[in-house]
Symmetry: D2
Subunit: 139 residues, 4 copies
């Protein structure tokens, strides 16, 4: 068992006119999980972005949707660090519905360590890498 876990209830305003969680919002849930994981660094993601001008723009995303979420459901998001390269990071998010455990979606997210002023890829900073190491998926 590894990975960071984040839970999040579907809110009143997040469903669409078909009464299911609007699918782009699944990715917002994943981003919230990532932001929450980065709270493990001093100042969290806000400090990375605002003071250190370090960010993680996405370069590739793949999502398999298995079942919908509805208002009243709680998403349980397991975040695993699949791979880190010199500048790139691959994360996997496994979303289940908390109460009944059914599989909701699997998201693979490749992002790149980036200096936000130069908009250039940079090596993953040591403290970021140490945080990611805590949530590495088993080989």
């Amino acid at each position: 068992m590894s990975g960071y876990v984040f839970e999040r209830a579907v809110r009143f305003d997040e469903v669409d006119a078909a009464l299911m969680l609007y699918y782009p919002r699944f990715l917002g849930y994943c981003h919230e999980a990532m932001e929450a994981m980065f709270a493990g660094l001093d100042g969290g993601y806000p400090r990375l972005i605002q003071q250190r001008r370090f960010g993680l723009p996405a370069v590739h995303i793949e999502v398999d949707f298995k079942s919908p979420l509805r208002y009243g459901d709680v998403a349980r998001i397991g975040l695993d660090v699949v791979k880190t390269g010199y500048t790139s990071i691959t994360l996997r998010y496994t979303l289940t519905q908390k109460d009944d455990g059914r599989m909701v979606a699997v998201v693979e997210h490749v992002c790149v360590a980036t200096n936000l002023d130069a908009m250039k890829a940079i090596p993953i900073p040591k403290d970021v890498l140490a945080l990611l190491d805590r949530y590495r998926s088993p080989a």
Copy 2:
């Protein structure tokens, strides 16, 4: 007859779990109408914000909600400039449903001409005032 007019269909993802336009989004529609009006200036609202570092933070909002909007409805938003002071601007947005003409909401919005770097009120710039004059409501 005066005022700037902006139309906007309710989107699939903008209703809530009661299948009505989520009420904070009414204010987003009003902001879109204001942004669209500012397209009358060279570079529009993006240039005001990003190059001139000029913005219009809200200081007071009042909304009367008359009837809901649903998916498939089109909001027709009439924007009137009610009053301008040295640094403050009062706008009124009248929202109706385009097809049947029923009244949806009336929003009064007071904002302040602001230098975004200093975060200080400043006199309304001449070109902004000239634009506002075009959409002034009759006394």
Copy 3:
């Protein structure tokens, strides 16, 4: 001391191009506080909306904005029940920035107990009223 208290960090995606919390989202924060308060009823707001077909559409909103919220800030929202009538409820939300205590905004929100199928005002149900009584502001 009275009122329900709800805390909420400003998220990465909630600021606007001026790097301040987009003002319609203040009202979304208030709605989240209200939803959280209703978790005090069995099944919470989801059950009210979906099974009991009971909702609280807004009829009037007034907001005074005092200072901006930025990414990294945490909003502390105090929710007080100001008044209840036969069918209407007046709520007041007082938003401060958690860390430095500065005042952010005050929102007054009048909503109407509504049967969502008939879209008619109905008397406030007894259990809802009992919940509201817990958070009534001192006279």
Copy 4:
């Protein structure tokens, strides 16, 4: 040359704290393009969803992000129908920045023709298929 084309300015509230379009919103732009394409059917997507109880839940999404969008940019979205099966539809969205033509993102979106009451896959209705045929990508 084929495909449906939809244009959309990045709005004030759609960037994140790094001042780039928040990446889940790219998918919202694609959904808007799809909704706009369905305006070619009587009553559009609202009628499909609300009266005919027909929807297109996503089952798979892949996105390659090439360059960011910022406030003031206009997204130009080309929508091509790549493939239709008995119940499934594969769409490709090619996002460019309108003014300078640079590539922004490519999205592949597989969705399934679904009866929203039964939540079961159904054959693609004839009028929907005829609409999709208009925007089929060249082999």
